[in-house]
Amino acid sequence: MSSGENVLSPEYKKALENLLFQLADDDFLISFRGSEWLGLAPHIEEDVASSSISQDTMGHAAMFYTLLEDLGAGKADDLAHLREAQDRRNSVLAERVNGEGYYMETPKYDWAYAVVRNFFYTQAKKVKMDSLRQSNYKPLAETAVKVNMELYYHLLHWKTWFIQLLNSTDEAKRRMNEAIELVMKDFGDVFSYGDEKTAIEQSGLIAGEDQLKEGWKSNMALPFECVAMKVPDIPEASAKNGRNGDHTEELASALTTLSEVYRLDPAAAW
């Protein structure tokens, strides 16, 4: 399949758009969650590092939304800010709150959850980007190469935290294990393509779900060995599959916050 827009078959284009929405919405939401952490990380150095990661991730979301805009799906800013929860294709994991409380008040966010979610998510994203480098849609393959360059550092960052905390105090271990359990509960739709599974897997855009899952597991083997634990099983996608637009209330409230200003007047220049 060529990348020229005019020769994309309707089925291919539909699968491509669906995949791009999954990638864009994932990064957009997890970056939003990261931005809520700003100023509240365990120490100042970490605040600088993790806000840099959130910023890169927002940049990746913008690249994926721009690919959609190029396909005629609408303006990137509209796609990012105006789509309702049921139209979002991100995994449930990406939309989850950081912990107790609203960021504008005095939240009590859970750093263990942040480390585990970001590490597991980033490794999943890395496996996808590695596959997308061979995508038959050239603009996506090129984007994956760019994203991958930054992803190397993100992964190293979260992996370091993961191993360090799980090899530390009893309290850290307990909190990290609780976080692993919580994250894995939502991990079922991370590698799911939802109802578009067949179309996406046949499109030549990206590897199949099972192959990506295997990639994730084999990459996770070493870090889990370092903390003397077994790589957890990836659950089957549950009935609440974000890829099909099934989401939690947590997404709805995130969307309200992140689009509050844009929605005042989407036609205005901001």
Binding site: F32, S35, E36, L38, G39, L40, A41, P42, H43, I44, E45, D47, V48, S51, S52, S54, Q55, M58, G59, A61, A62, Y65, A76, D77, A80, H81, Y103, M104, T106, K108, Y109, W111, Q164, L165, N167, S168, T169, E171, A172, R175, T257, L258, E260, V261, Y262, L264, D265, A268, A269, W270
Partner: protein, 317 residues
């Protein structure tokens, strides 16, 4: 025994003053009079902690930034501010070493009210216009005060400021871009900017501190000028700010919140209504609109993350 060690305190001081008069830079391990060290610790830890507390009002608008482009820009901007905080706290930590104090003491001083943070960061934010205004005029004001100390006699501070000022210039441009988009936008957007200017006006006047200690009972400007940590007085800096920004505010078609404000050609200075300095005293005693809420946010997150610091300490020991 070296000659240096045999010198009296008085001779050391004399030599120190000669060094700074000659434009020499003092380094962290050099001998320095205690008055100088204490003035630097107060100044730099307050500056550092203000960068960190200053991330909090802007942070409120980071997730809400209207477009992808603005989201990216404000994320980068607030991250820079945290980075400045880190850089400055490192400089302060070196100065604190002889007293056996560390960063956790700086944090405790903040929480118990001994260490102040800048008056502007005690204010509430109401709209996206405030986020733009902070970048444009608060960072603009910061560039003016910090440029005043670029030639500081204390080398580590002067070098940190060089990098900080370079980044602040980008921040001011980021803020100005937001403000210009609003000022050239819809009626609602224009109202947003005007309200932001009205809301921040007094805080911006207070930003440079009182003209003299008679205004508020105390001022550190005399001692910092004596030791060549800074050059200009608070009032000179405020006047520089007016000269730079009043024409820009007017050119955007915005109104000055102080209708009496004008430039007196004869006196060669801006004439303006004084802000309520008793309010300033309240604010810097952590009794401003958002002082307690922001301190509480920082304190809560510090306590909430205590287990992480403990875990890191356990793995490095």
């Amino acid at each position: 025994m070296s000659n240096l060690a045999m010198k009296s305190e008085e001779e050391m001081l004399e030599q120190f003053i000669e060094r700074i008069e000659a434009g020499d830079k003092i380094e962290a391990d050099d001998w320095m009079p205690e008055e100088y060290r204490i003035a630097l610790i107060k100044l730099i830890s307050m500056h550092g902690i203000s960068e960190i507390m200053g991330a909090l009002p802007e942070k409120e608008w980071v997730p809400k930034a209207p477009t992808l482009h603005r989201k990216l820009a404000i994320m980068a901007k607030v991250q820079d501010e945290m980075g400045h905080g880190q850089l400055l706290l490192r400089v302060a930590e070196d100065l604190l070493k002889p007293y056996g104090k560390t960063r956790s003491d700086i944090m405790q001083d903040l929480f118990n009210g001994d260490l102040k943070f800048h008056n502007v960061f005690h204010m509430d934010t109401k709209s996206w216009g405030d986020a733009g205004l902070i970048g444009w005029l608060v960072d603009g004001a910061a560039i003016i005060t910090q440029t005043n100390m670029l030639g500081s006699s204390y080398g580590p501070y002067a070098r940190a400021l060089q990098r900080i000022c370079a980044e602040e210039v980008f921040h001011a441009q980021h803020g100005e871009a937001i403000i210009m988009a609003l000022a050239e936008g819809t009626e609602e957007q224009r109202t947003m900017v005007q309200e932001a200017i009205n809301h921040w006006w007094e805080s911006l006047l207070m930003f440079f501190g009182p003209a003299s200690k008679e205004t508020t009972g105390s001022s550190k400007q005399d001692i910092t000028i004596k030791y060549k940590i800074r050059k200009k007085t608070n009032e000179q800096l405020r006047q520089d700010f007016f000269t730079k920004y009043i024409p820009r505010i007017l050119s955007l078609g915005l109104k000055l919140p102080d209708p009496t404000m004008h430039y007196d050609e004869e006196k060669q200075m801006w004439i303006y209504q004084q802000p309520d300095w008793s309010e300033f005293k309240k604010i810097i005693k952590n009794q401003g609109p958002r002082s307690q809420a922001r301190l509480n946010l920082r304190r809560t997150s510090y306590e909430n993350n205590a287990w992480v610091r403990d875990a890191l300490a356990a793995t490095t020991n």
